[in-house]
């Protein structure tokens, strides 16, 4: 598992370095993330970074519950493993949902929009655009949106598969497979993967939202 994680981490490092490259190349048209991600559920104002902070908190929290499940596995405590693993799965699902919400607001954009040059049938036309997609971006350079969708999407897919793997392990724990086996090694392995996902998010969070 460790060596798979090393290779996966190198992939993410490459992506984030490519992001850093484009960002340093176009600093004057690069959007400031504090102006982009300002939404918060059930609140119609602008609170920069609050929601993504909450997402980070959820993911770190689910990492803690995972490590507590691993610790309970070391004591062969089936009840506790079940409990903590369930909380981990809920945390992961909440995170994926939050990310979908974040994407939605990024794609829809602000009500006033912004004037950008858009290519229509090969001609560059000045036009008001709302939100961001792969070709236009209200907030700045379109390549920012491309990187945002690709890197957070890649990470979100990792979280999603992590939730599925955790679910499989959870079912096995409940059915007592590992209790018969005498050790909770599998919980520890999925735990490694889950912490890795958290680790990647810590970096994505810094480079996309804070800097």
């Amino acid at each position: 598992m460790w060596f798979f994680l090393v290779s996966d981490a190198l992939t993410f490092s490459g992506l984030l370095c490519a992001y850093g490259f484009m960002r340093h190349k176009h600093p004057e048209v690069w959007p400031n993330p504090a102006d982009v991600f300002t939404h918060f559920p059930f609140y119609h104002g602008h609170i920069p970074l609050a929601y993504v902070g909450l997402m980070t908190l959820i993911l770190i929290m689910s990492s803690v519950t995972m490590v507590l499940a691993v610790e309970a596995g070391h004591r062969n405590d089936k009840k506790k493993v079940t409990f903590w693993l369930l909380l981990t799965i809920i945390g992961g699902a909440m995170f994926v949902g939050s990310q979908a919400w974040e994407w939605y607001h990024f794609i829809v954009g602000t009500p006033h929009g912004a004037l950008r040059s858009v290519s229509i049938d090969g001609n560059w036309v000045q036009q008001t655009v709302y939100g961001a997609n792969m070709t236009v971006n209200e907030y700045g350079l379109p390549v920012f949106a491309n990187f945002f969708f690709f890197i957070t999407g890649f990470h979100g897919f990792h979280v999603f598969s992590g939730v599925i793997i955790n679910l499989v392990i959870f079912i096995n724990v409940v059915r007592g497979t590992y209790e018969r086996r005498g050790h909770y090694e599998m919980v520890e392995k999925t735990g490694l993967y889950w912490h890795f996902v958290d680790l990647v998010w810590v970096f994505v969070f810094t480079f996309f939202y804070l800097l």
């Binding site: 960002r23 560059w124 804070l210």
Partner: protein, 159 residues
């Protein structure tokens, strides 16, 4: 059901008693509080960066702010890897075979991509043919009063 997996026996020795578990749990929660604190500090710095003068005129982070954020991120990454992922408890050889690729390659990759990006920024006009073509077409269109045919369909240079 009898189950055999081919792990060496030492792999399965990761059992501990109730008392040891209590100590381990307390440590884990301490790590969690540290990470929570670091995240909150990061968010506070991020929210008030403008007021305390850590952003420049174009609303971009100053170098100090970047160093603070990357440093705090590495602190968090250290706690995740060494405490949650138990790398601190692994053998020394294992530890280095996992960390060495990063120390060697990623630092180099970061260095080289930032350096090259700065070069590209300075020489953007010369290097980015697409942007030059777009600008020429826009100028031509402005002069003749109609839009010229634009063959490329890549990203428009947002101005």
């Amino acid at each position: 059901m009898e189950f055999h997996d081919d792990y060496p026996q030492y792999e399965l020795m990761a059992h501990h008693s109730e008392e040891e578990g209590k100590v381990a749990r307390r440590k884990l929660w301490n790590v969690f509080w540290i990470m929570l604190g670091v995240t909150i500090v990061e968010l506070l710095i991020g929210s008030f960066a403008l007021k305390i003068g850590l952003l420049d005129d174009e609303r971009h982070s100053k170098a100090v702010l970047k160093i603070i954020f990357v440093g705090l991120t590495i602190v968090k990454a250290f706690y995740i890897v060494f405490s949650f992922m138990h790398l601190g408890g692994e053998k020394k050889s294992m530890r280095y075979s996992i960390l060495a690729p990063y120390i060697m390659f990623i630092l180099y990759l970061v260095f080289i991509s930032i350096t090259e990006a700065n070069y590209c920024r300075v020489h953007k006009e010369k290097m980015d043919d697409l942007i030059v073509i777009q600008k020429e077409n826009l100028n031509k269109a402005a002069l003749s009063g109609k839009t010229e045919e634009e063959p490329t369909e890549a990203q428009p240079a947002a101005k």
